[in-house]
């Protein structure tokens, strides 16, 4: 056993004996302890701060004396005086081992720190950024041994940081000579650490020690909105989050209408490509301004999107995605440069697109898989990303299946008579009184129910304007629970329902939700056509999920995760009454928020996660609903509320659903099912 002092690092538990006088940073490096440093141990950057522990550590079997570390030296003292240092902290590069010691590496001193996610069930993100900062001292040019400035800089990176085979882009060559001289041959270099396709590359150089960072973007390019997180690549912190409408909306609200636009107009795809790239650049300018950073320091960007957006953003005509067999140009992950896409950030910023799963299941679904990790789940999880097109994943450690299903825009309030986007004034929560059959509701912008005192005053100027997606789900489910709509989806007459809010509206009945006409507001009703739209949307969603369950060979799932901004607002009980999602314990239905955006953020902050999701996507079994005969059968069954054949025992243990049917003649619930085929042909 060594007579040298024992150094124990926490939280890693790594330990080793080191000669008296060894700097803590050196010991950490030799043991492979994750202790950050930008200046390489010169006492400049303070990234290597550590907290020594003193006294008795019975767990480790050591006693740490007060003089276990060297006294403060001049460098350390000067740093503390000038920049400040927490009381219990030392600089790992200056403090040296004098006796047995226990050293805690606080999270902010770890390169690969955990970036904590808010949701309890979500795994933290391990920071593993593409680009890091390194301070180096470069040899001056020597006529006796001529070599380029770049070669000497690369020598310094190799010798001082063990970075091999580092290259530089042209813009670095164009700017580096004066920077090296300005810094007196001491510079801070941002190095992209490379990947399986590319060697490490110098992204930026600053004279002297640069106390700054470089940044990355995680972008969720949706059909409707483009949302981005701007992250600090050294800390993992989200500095700003922002979104804009996708400017392609002027070419068509949904994906299929954009594919049609490109088919109808010779330069249509190009126009849409330009529009989305312009929108992207606008967003980047805005988000960089919000965070107060120079957008030329955005060196990495990760994009997730559905296949049509993917193709249009890349400048690929989405023609083939509009027709069977829905062939993607490429499904693999893409590694490009900002310049390839006309993005106005760092001139050679790296751009990463997550892989697409299949022609209808895009990089956004891959991002959801990365965020929610069904492949690492012990129990069988169904993940549904609710949108115009629903992406559905089902799996556990054993295997993961994926499909998409064309829900249409009904869940976003489109094609619903009183439907609207989620905005102030929109009804988002609904309860129907079991006796009076009258609804009460909440609107976005107020926490009060509509029958509570002060409601009118609080909603103020906006008034009640319509019903948003989550409101419609609750509305229809409440109507079903309280016998206003029957299982096949027919609204009953006042006689059948016992409610004079039902009224004949053409050939079918409608239900009056709110009459604001006296105040100059809207008259909000649910028509039987609205019910049909919701039936078709939810049937598409359910039958996709059910098809995956068939393929998996199960009749139930352990838990359901609702992803997407919309998913965050859905009431699990009402979704289940509607038969949107399979029967499951209500506490096992959770929301993951914008899981696609989170997946993008994970891939941005942890480059190792990129290879991981690429492997996961390769292993995912893709199911194409269009060619599965059972899909149509499930769709017809799922048109009923909640379902014509599935028993939903857990739901029925909580809620009593009336059994009466209102159809006294032809027509009725079958319509929605028959309509499925038509919609199938329209999807993209």
């Amino acid at each position: 056993m060594s007579s040298d002092p024992l150094v124990i690092f926490t939280p890693s538990g790594k330990r080793g004996h080191f000669p008296v006088g060894t700097p803590i940073l050196t010991a950490a490096r030799q043991l492979g302890v994750d202790l950050d440093s930008v200046c390489g141990g010169r006492g400049i950057c303070s990234k290597c701060q550590i907290t020594p522990g003193y006294g008795e550590f019975s767990k480790h079997g050591v006693t740490v004396r007060d003089d276990a570390l060297s006294d403060w030296n001049a460098v350390e003292q000067r740093y503390k005086d000038k920049r400040g240092l927490k009381d219990d902290r030392r600089l790992g590069c200056q403090a040296t081992v004098q006796g047995n010691v226990v050293i805690d590496v606080p999270p902010e001193s770890q390169v690969h720190k955990q970036v904590v996610r808010k949701r309890a069930e979500a795994r933290d993100i391990v920071l593993h950024p593409s680009t890091r900062l390194f301070y180096v001292e470069v040899a001056e040019p020597d006529m006796h041994d001529p070599s380029g400035d770049l070669e000497r800089l690369c020598d310094a990176l190799r010798e001082q940081w063990q970075l091999d085979n580092v290259h530089a882009d042209l813009h670095i060559l164009q700017t580096m000579q004066p920077i090296l001289r300005k810094g007196g041959w001491k510079v801070t270099v941002a190095v992209h650490l490379g990947d399986d396709q590319n060697p490490p590359r110098i992204m930026q150089i600053w004279p002297g020690y640069h106390d700054g960072s470089v940044y990355g973007l995680a972008v969720d390019l949706g059909s409707t909105t483009i949302a981005a997180h701007l992250c600090d690549l050294q800390t993992g912190a989200v500095l700003a989050s922002s979104g804009v409408m996708n400017p392609q909306i002027r070419f068509g609200e949904d994906l299929m209408s954009r594919v049609s636009y490109s088919m109808m107009n010779p330069k249509g795809a190009e126009e849409m490509t330009r529009a989305v790239r312009d929108g992207m650049n606008g967003l980047f300018t805005q988000i960089a301004a919000e965070a107060g950073i120079d957008k030329a320091l955005i060196v990495d960007a990760v994009f997730v999107c559905n296949p049509v957006m993917h193709h249009l953003f890349l400048g690929i005509d989405p023609f083939e995605l509009g027709q069977a067999p829905f062939a993607l140009t490429t499904s693999n992950a893409l590694r490009l440069r900002s310049g390839d896409l006309g993005l106005d950030i760092h001139p050679s910023a790296r751009v990463y697109f997550l892989p697409c799963i299949a022609g209808h299941v895009g990089a956004d679904a891959a991002a959801v898989a990365l965020s929610e990790a069904p492949d690492k789940s012990d129990d069988l999880v169904l993940i549904v990303d609710v949108g115009t097109n629903a992406e559905i994943l089902l799996g556990n450690r054993e295997k993961v299946l994926a499909c998409s299903s064309p829900t249409g825009p009904a869940f976003e309030g489109a094609q619903i008579s009183a439907g609207q986007r989620a905005a102030p004034g929109a009804i988002e929560r609904v309860e129907i009184d079991p006796v009076s059959k009258a609804p009460r509701f909440k609107v976005i912008g107020s926490d009060l129910w509509s029958d509570e005192p002060g409601f009118d005053a609080e909603i103020g100027a906006s008034g009640v304007t319509g019903i948003c997606g989550s409101g419609i789900i609750e509305m229809v489910a409440e109507m079903r629970i309280h016998g206003i709509v029957d299982a096949p989806g027919l609204i009953g007459s006042p006689e059948q329902t016992g409610s004079d809010r039902c009224f004949l509206d053409g050939r079918t009945y409608s239900y009056l939700v709110f009459d604001g006409t006296a105040q100059g507001g809207p008259r909000i009703t649910i028509t039987n056509r609205d019910i049909r739209e919701i039936q078709m949307a939810k049937a598409a969603l359910y039958s996709g999920a059910r098809l995956l369950m068939d393929k998996f060979g199960v009749d139930r799932v352990d838990r359901v995760v609702l992803a997407g901004a919309f998913g965050a607002h859905i009431s699990p009980k009402h979704a289940m009454v509607l038969g949107m999602i399979p029967d499951a314990p209500l506490d096992k239905v959770t929301s993951a928020g914008n899981a696609a955006g989170t997946g993008a953020r994970i891939a941005l902050l942890n480059t190792a996660a990129r290879a991981e999701i690429e492997a996961t996507v390769r292993a995912i079994h893709k199911v194409e609903t269009a060619i599965e005969p059972r899909f149509q059968e499930h769709f017809v069954n799922a048109s009923a509320i909640p379902n014509a054949v599935e028993p939903f025992p857990i739901l029925r243990s909580i809620v009593d659903l009336p059994t009466a049917t209102f159809n006294t003649g032809g027509g009725g619930g079958g319509d929605a099912g028959a309509d499925g085929g038509r919609r199938r042909r329209r999807r993209a």
Copy 2:
């Protein structure tokens, strides 16, 4: 021993036994015989043509019967009928082994064929292009097993051509889907085979079998001219060679004046970068038109140039090259894309810059080293690339040294009273009559000597206009041989020289070469100032060479190679009389022509040569003349004609040089030496 028939390939000598019915192409591939194929054995491309040999082959110990190969099949016959095939040829993919056979692979059927260089002493170029064409049959998309078109194309390249890890640039993704469908899932793909930094990449796709090629450019970017060879990358043939003036000339004739321009003008370097890139694009348009090819099919380009041109073309301010320690931004070889340099060829054409040797010894010198291969020479070779700045290499298998020396533009006719560029009317050859001391000469545009009948008529309109570089060298050397100029460089009086062509011209004498004033032409004389300019230029050249000889520890070299367009026109005897080059047998002084341009062509056609020259350059020992005290001493000695101290025994065994000196007072030969220091400060 196998009972299967024996197949012997020539010229490789590779042999093996193969079952009856094996296609010759298959046998060749299994033995690693270099037999081309683009269509992969489908009888479409005819690249695999072979010549079977019949009868007795005692050397190989086999007799080939007439039925050693299968009969012509339908595919082969159809090809012959439609496209023609030489009588003794078969298609290697269709003809199968039936008995022992000797198969000759003609040069045009070899992928790595030898591209023959004209000079006897030059090594042939082994064709090893960056980009090759492959015909593939791609699987159609399948909804049951969705994958991107690119992934299926890459699968086909892997399965049918053993090409792994192939990537595609964005412009391929943007265009590939309709091409795949137009070709019925059969396409021809141009694949850049990658290098140590980059995986293979698809550069171009054509529907069906494409009977074409892709092209490359070898570009010698000189201070004065930009010269390019356009080559077919499949055959190695030069399709067109062309040149333009370097448009940077308007910013300064020589390098140093361009460096000064960039120092004096804030946007000067940018202007010059734009100028050279515009000139380059103009040249490329012109050369592609000359060869009748689409310049978007130029997928590879190799550039050689001196360090200042290198920096200006890349968009790097050459400021540091204008002052000690002459630090290059980078000396390594560069691998870029056409877009990085604004070159209007294939959108992602690969661009390769040979490495620079040192701050004054550029990629052009590296190209000379690649072409002339001093590192592979058994005897000690001195290679001099004569230009405004001379690059000098000295070496053999043991080691290679390099330096540059600031000769100035005198060898190009500048700063000489009657000097001019090499153009019709310029005196290029000179002989002085030993008795009359009258010169006779040849001018560019005529093969007649000026004293031969018909000379005046033949030179016609141009007349005699001046003296070009090679003419000046011969002129001064002839003047020295015939006692008109003395060893220190002074022109004698009529009395001293016995020639009334010598006349007092200010404070010194001049020598009358040609008086065309009666015909309205020029009066061409050699002034003593002209002699001084030539002395300084040749002294710079010689002292660089001599310094390398010192470093090598030798007093003589085995042979001398004169590179550069100018070098091709220098008379070895006269150059040696002048003392430009060290003493050597005249038949050991040869011209390599534009060796830098040839080096660029080698690097273009043989990608393996790139790694080779990079290694060679790393091993070259660089000598910086500016800091070598002996350089100044050599310079002073070399100012004399041929030299104040070197004996030049071989030269003196051929030529008697008068020993008289004309200086009767102060001044004289020392001037040139004293002037060397001033010029040193001006060089770049």
